[in-house]
Amino acid sequence: MNATLSPSTQRALAGLNYLYLLAMLFVIAAILSAAMFMQYAKGELPCPLCLLQRVALFGVCFGIMQNFRHGFSYQNTGYSLMFALLLLVVSVRQTLLDIAPRPGHEYIGSAVFGLHMPVWSVLIALALLTAYALKLAILGGDEYLEKADVKSFPLIDKLATILGLYVLVLCLINLVSVIVQCGFGECHTFGYVLLK
């Protein structure tokens, strides 16, 4: 279909595709920052399943960052989708784990706008999968996306580099935080193992 599009339209669609990916990266970085704010400012230690949900979000970031750093590829979209599915499975299971109040099982952490974090994770995973479905349906399936380098959109390239570095720093902080919280063994929400 897009063989009939003019080069300027193809370029505009490629730019829109990168802008879409940039928005997704921004939202994920904001979500991870909010989770870390709740951990460090409010003292709400993440449970093991919560940490796995962070892993899944970083995994989605991997695919998006690869598209920005080394050219667009549907393989990268596949990596992001794999981790989005992991996020959905983990968050749904955690939501079902705590959905019926019983001794020793209740939602960890405070509610945000009335919803607890695992429930938010389900919504985030669904939003990510929906966003990818819409992107593929509207902007995907065309060779021009693979030919158009993000370097031809300097502002998007610069913002993507800054955001990518920010995600890398977030991941490093999480790595150190996990080592301090869990050591090299099992994770608990009682406190930071290495600070006891």
């Binding site: 399943l49 991997f62 960052m65 080394h70 794999m82 992991l86 991941c171 999480n174 090299f184």
Partner: protein, 66 residues
């Protein structure tokens, strides 16, 4: 285990950033496999396995329909 997952994840992001795609993907696969393994380990219970007996479901009987 969790530290290993985050280490593999950070290496994947870092190596991917610097263009070492092959090694980055290897780290990503290690991270994914370990994450799935840990997830299953976390949700497994010796008493109930992977089932969730606290979720009560039933077929609606005639008495409930009336």
């Amino acid at each position: 285990m969790m530290a290993g997952i985050f280490m593999a994840l950070f290496l994947a992001l870092l190596l991917g950033w610097f263009g070492q795609r092959k090694y980055a993907l290897a780290c990503l696969v290690v991270c994914f496999v370990l994450a799935v393994y840990l997830f299953q380990w976390e949700i497994y219970s010796p008493e109930t396995g992977f089932r969730m007996p606290w979720l009560k479901t039933w077929l609606p009987g005639p008495e409930r329909l009336s």
